[in-house]
């Protein structure tokens, strides 16, 4: 800085000195060029010319006076005075006369002055003498003539001669010898001549003497004046002067050329300088404009940086944060100074794995940019999703020197998306998935099950007479009921299952990965059971039953809509067949399935071929564990397929109407077996036979029972019947008559699968039944996490209130047993006490008991 200043000082000093030198040079040249002033030269030349002219005129005047042509001396005086007045002017040479010429000029001037002085004196003398001569020349002839006349003839002849000689002499320049005339004059003076008054010879001779004396003098003076060197000298002076003038003029001209050249150089330089300045100015203007635009751009960019809603991060090549914008701080909660110098890893939430970042960096390095969704952690620990764009800034060498990260907090968007998604896919009232989501879930379930080679069940559930509730109690009550129903439905489903509401009172359940048809039916029953529980609504305890239709993939259809349609159809069939029940669509489907058709055919001959057998599952007294009964369960020993479970062939039997024959066979077979055991001396326990809805609806059950007992001579205590709640409900009018008849025959009746249907105890109270069988789905809940065990306890307590004994089905664990025992359950049936087994095995049990 100091050095620069010193340099600049030096520069200025140099420039100033240069300027002073240039100004001095120009001034000097200008003075030298203009030194020969034309006015001075003109005046001097004028003066010289005047002197010369006056000199010439003076000669003329003298000549005029000499020849008696001029009669006054005023011109002479005037001219002499004029010459004299010019003398000081001529004496002052102009300043520019070269010094070398001055001595020569001065000596010439001195010569001229001397000559002029001499001439002046000569003129003075000439004036004096000429006047006298002129007077004498005028007077002498007159006086001489008069005098000679007066003398008369006796005058001396020499006088005559003398007068003539003087007159002749007086006329012109020296025609006579002066000395001779003077001698004559002397001679005549010696003559005794008389005087005549005023006219005396002395007078005459004075004038003669004057003529003789003055004539040569005047001639000589005139000659000298005429031949005065003044003209020549002034001419020489003029020449000398003009020579000097020309030399000076040439010199001045030379300086003028120099001055012109220097000025032209200056002009050229100034033009060059102006052009240069102009160019610089344009350059500067452009540069300024560019800079202004750049600044504007920068300001704009800075504005973008500071006011953007997106968080921005600028890092160096080592990912050290160089700058962040206000939005960054707002989103992350960090202040700028807290993150500067650190890396963006500060924000790492840990949600993405190492691989994620590795991929991000590889793409960033390869393509120079990366976009993606990333989860980061705020300063307060909150984790939020952001949409992050990272761009690499490369330097001239192509090496990344900065990274710019721009991100948006998308948590809200995510939430919105989720909410919208939820709204789009869920029913607003119950929060259950809607049809769209359901279809999606079913499709997913199909895909999943296809891989696992399993089935998918679609259960269509519709609440019976829901419309009545809506109409009579209002929509609010209806809505509340639906909400509760949804909650209950969810309670009995697995997490992988989907419960959805299609609208109104229609619910659909999708069950993926179903191994057996029975599971679907089981779930359907559970659903119907929980839905059939009483609802406490607006002070009313309402009971609503439902109907369920089940369609299976791949058996009933390939597409989602087809499955739904078929499940709907099955549901309507269930409704037709007495509500509060579930139906497979399978009847139609089985018809189209060759396997099911063959099985139905096989089933038709199964009775004759005696392929059907009875298995017996023990019932024990809860307190003692003593065998007190058994349930007869039909088994089909298929010659090719082996043992076929009733869940598979019972629906076939119902579809084909074989069920009635099979029901008859079952009654007869149980009675025959009891007879066998009685005859063998064993103490048989009552055996329960299941009655189907078809049987109940189409056959005269009391007669059948009476016939069977009659046929085998079996006391009625040895036989019991089990029928489902829904069967009773559907055939309510018939049911009471049948049950009373049976009661009259002292045949015990138990309500099977209690809890899955209407579960209306007050309704049951109308029928003379002796016991309730709690459905295995309730028993399963016991000991399971989150199970609704209180319902079981309530059912037991209520049944006891109605003087009904309670049998728990599906008791498989000791926990279940202990719980049920604690709550007063009367009998147990389940794997814990024995699986369904052949008659032979029961015989040994009976034998052991007795």
């Amino acid at each position: 800085m100091k050095l620069i200043r010193r340099c600049r000082c030096g520069l200025w000093l140099g420039l100033s000195l240069g300027f002073v030198a240039l100004i001095a040079l120009l001034t000097w040249l200008f003075l030298r060029a203009g030194e020969v002033s034309p006015e001075g030269h003109y005046a001097y030349m004028q003066s010289l010319r005047r002197v010369q002219q006056a000199d010439v005129e003076l000669n003329v005047a003298v000549l005029g006076s000499y020849s008696d042509l001029m009669h006054n001396y005023d011109p002479l005086v005037r001219l002499v005075q004029e010459i004299r007045s010019e003398q000081p002017v001529i004496g002052r040479f102009p300043a520019w006369v070269p010094a070398d010429d001055l001595p020569q000029l001065n000596s010439k001037l001195a010569e001229l002055r001397a000559a002029q002085q001499l001439k002046e004196e000569d003129i003075d003398q000439f004036q004096r003498s000429n006047s006298v001569l002129r007077n004498s020349l005028h007077y002498f002839p007159l006086a001489a003539e008069t005098y000679l006349e007066k003398l008369g003839a006796g005058r001396p002849p020499e006088l005559d001669h003398f007068v003539r000689s003087v007159l002749t002499f007086g006329q012109g320049p020296e025609r006579e010898d002066v000395d001779k005339l003077k001698q004559e004059l002397a001679r005549i003076q010696k003559l005794e001549l008389p005087a005549f008054g005023e006219l005396s010879p002395a007078h005459l001779l004075v004038h003669a003497r004057a003529i003789i004396g003055r004539r040569p003098e005047v001639d000589r003076l005139a000659f000298r004046i005429m031949n005065s060197p003044t003209a020549r000298l002034s001419e020489e002076l003029t020449r000398l002067y003009t020579d000097g003038h020309e030399a000076s003029q040439r010199l001045a001209g030379y300086y003028r050329q120099l001055l012109y050249a220097v000025s032209m150089l200056l002009v050229l330089y100034v033009m060059y300088a102006i052009e240069r300045i102009n160019r610089d100015r344009r350059d500067l203007l452009q540069r300024y404009e560019a800079q202004r635009q750049a600044e504007e751009g920068l300001r704009l960019y800075a504005q973008v940086f500071t006011s953007a809603a997106e968080g921005m991060t600028i890092t160096d090549a080592e990912s050290k944060i160089l700058a962040v914008n206000p939005a960054f701080c707002q989103i992350t909660g960090y202040r700028a100074e807290e993150v500067l110098g650190k890396t963006p890893a500060l924000l790492n939430s840990g949600r993405q794995g190492r691989e994620y970042y590795r991929q991000m960096w590889s793409e960033l390095l390869k393509r120079g940019q990366w976009h993606g969704e990333i989860w980061n952690r705020r300063k307060d620990g909150g984790i939020y999703p952001e949409w992050l764009s990272v761009a690499a800034v490369r330097d001239a060498a192509g090496k990344a020197c900065n990274y710019i990260g721009i991100f948006t907090d998308i948590s809200e968007r995510k939430e919105n998306e989720a909410r919208i998604h939820h709204l789009a896919h869920h029913d607003a009232l119950t929060g259950l998935p809607n049809r769209i989501l359901l279809e999606d879930r079913i499709a997913q379930a199909i895909a999943k099950s296809r891989r696992a080679d399993l089935q998918v069940a679609v259960i269509f559930v519709d609440l019976d007479r829901f419309k009545n509730i809506n109409d009579t109690l209002g929509h609010e009550v209806g809505d509340n009921l639906l909400i509760q129903a949804a909650g209950r439905g969810l309670g009995v489903l697995r997490e992988t299952d989907t419960l959805s509401r299609l609208g109104g009172d229609e619910f659909v359940v999708a069950l993926p990965e179903v191994e057996q048809l029975q599971y679907a039916m089981h779930v359907a029953h559970k659903l119907l059971t929980v839905l059939g529980q009483p609802y406490l609504l607006a002070g009313h305890a309402l009971t609503v039953t439902g109907s369920a239709g089940i369609a299976l993939w791949p058996g009933d259809g390939q597409s989602v809509s087809e499955l739904l349609r078929k499940a709907d159809a099955a549901m309507y069939r269930a409704k037709e067949e007495g509500r509060n029940t579930a139906r497979f669509y399978s009847a139609g489907a089985n018809k189209t399935s060759l396997g099911e058709l063959l099985l139905e055919n096989d089933l038709r001959g199964a009775l004759e071929r005696k392929e059907l057998t009875m298995f017996y599952q023990p019932k024990v007294e809860a307190q003692s564990g003593r065998l007190i009964g058994a349930e007869a369960l039909m088994r089909w020993q298929h010659p090719e397929h082996g043992l076929i479970p009733p869940t598979r062939f019972i629906p076939l039997a119902e579809e084909s109407g074989l069920i009635c024959a099979m029901g008859e066979w079952a009654l007869d077979e149980v009675c025959r077996q009891q007879r066998v055991w009685l005859d063998a001396g064993l103490q048989p326990v009552p055996v329960a036979v299941n009655l189907s809805a078809h049987q109940f609806a189409q056959q005269d059950v009391p007669t059948l029972v009476a016939d069977a007992l009659q046929r085998h001579q079996l006391p009625p205590e040895m036989l019991a019947l089990e029928l489902t709640e829904s069967l009773l409900m559907r055939n309510a009018g018939n049911a009471a008559r049948v049950l009373h008849a049976l009661h009259g025959m002292r045949v015990d009746v138990a309500i099977d699968d209690f809890g899955t249907g209407y579960s209306s105890l007050s309704y049951l109270n109308q029928f003379p039944v002796q016991s309730l069988k709690i459905d295995r789905s309730f028993v399963c809940e016991i000991g399971a996490p989150g199970g609704t065990v209180k319902l079981v306890a309530a059912m037991i307590a209520m049944a006891h209130e109605l003087d009904l004994s309670v049998i728990a089905e599906g008791v498989e664990t000791e926990v279940q047993r202990d719980y049920l025992l604690a709550h007063g359950c009367d009998q147990f049936q389940g794997f814990l006490y024995g699986r369904p087994q052949a008659a032979g095995q029961i015989r040994s049990l009976l034998a052991a008991a007795s």
Partner: protein
């Protein structure tokens, strides 16, 4: 755009200056070799009639304020050593511009040795003083001032005295911007004196064609003036005053007279023998008013002076008729000053 027009203006100025330079360089610097000669004096030779012996007086044209200033000085007694004598004391306008005495009367009553010449028409005289020792009126003015028996003063004294008169100095400075100096004082006095031209004499009018102005005798006088040869020396506008001549050129005027230094005339200036008794030929203008005559004031009347002139200068004895006629003629030479005929 503004800058661009400025740039164009600058270029135009540069071009013009370059052009000017070229014109300046190529302009004729040389003064033409042949110069018309201009006469230096106001009276050109062309106006001078050389064939006539006597010419009318020219009318002077002079700066009025300097003339007035010169007159005041001319009449100012502070120019003398004892504040008693002014120029006008001896050069009395009422006495034909002279004093009417034989010799000048200076300060303290001192008497000089030479007759006072008239101041009228002195500006046209070719030299001043009887012996012509002053080439012009400026030189002449210093003479009487420094002469101890005339004004007995000096330029220094005069300047000191006049310098105390503030009003005068202010007025003087109006006419002479460089103020009160000896040169300017002399110039003022000389300028005034040059204005003392006695124009419009009867003879001048006669010369201009008014023949009836003169009487027969006067015309006869003029004829004899020429015939006798007076006109040989007394010629020109001043009728004299333009040459020197020896007093006693055809007879010894000084023989038998006591000589003093003034009688040597021009010899006192040149110390040349031929200038002994040589005097300036005096002008005959207003001669009738300036008695006594000659340098020594010896001729008390014009008659006597005319006769002496005839005897010593013309070498003849003039008749009474001659003298009468000549005196009559000389009387016609009185001119007017400030429109008034001198008496």
């Amino acid at each position: 755009m503004k800058l661009s027009s400025l740039h164009r203006l600058l270029l135009a100025v540069l071009l013009l200056s370059g052009l000017g330079g070229v014109i300046w360089y190529s302009s004729p610097w040389q003064v033409p070799a042949e110069l018309p000669v201009q006469p230096s004096s106001s009276i050109s030779l062309a106006n001078l009639d050389t064939t006539r012996p006597i010419l009318p007086l020219p009318v002077p044209d002079l700066p009025a304020e300097r003339v007035a200033l010169g007159r005041r000085l001319f009449e100012d007694k502070r120019l003398s050593g004892d504040n008693t004598v002014a120029c006008a004391s001896c050069h009395d306008y009422e006495r034909g511009g002279a004093d009417g005495r034989r010799f000048a009367l200076g300060i303290g009553g001192a008497v000089g040795s030479i007759n006072t010449p008239t101041v009228f028409n002195s500006g046209l005289s070719f030299v001043l003083f009887w012996d012509g020792r002053a080439a012009n009126l400026e030189e002449q003015a210093a003479g009487p001032i420094h002469n101890p028996i005339e004004m007995g003063s000096s330029w220094a004294d005069v300047l000191a005295r006049l310098g105390q008169d503030g009003a005068f100095v202010r007025e003087f400075t109006l006419a002479y911007p460089d103020g009160l100096t000896a040169v300017n004082l002399a110039d003022a006095i000389a300028t005034f004196e040059r204005s003392l031209v006695t124009v419009n004499s009867r003879f001048d009018r006669y010369l201009q064609g008014h023949r009836e102005v003169l009487t027969g005798l006067e015309i006869e006088g003029y004829r004899r003036f020429r015939e006798l040869g007076c006109v040989s020396c007394h010629q020109g506008a001043l009728i004299g005053g333009n040459m020197y001549q020896k007093f006693g050129v055809l007879g010894d005027y000084f023989s038998g007279r006591p000589l003093n230094k003034s009688d040597f005339g021009r010899y006192n200036v040149t110390q040349r023998e031929e200038d002994r008794h040589v005097f300036k030929v005096p002008s005959l203008r207003n001669v009738a008013l300036t008695a006594p005559y000659f340098h020594d004031g010896s001729a008390t009347t014009l008659d006597k002076a005319v006769r002496i002139m005839g005897r010593y200068q013309l070498g003849r004895e003039l008749s009474d008729q001659d003298v009468e006629a000549l005196v009559a003629f000389l009387g016609t030479l009185n001119g007017e000053w400030q429109g008034v005929l001198l008496k």
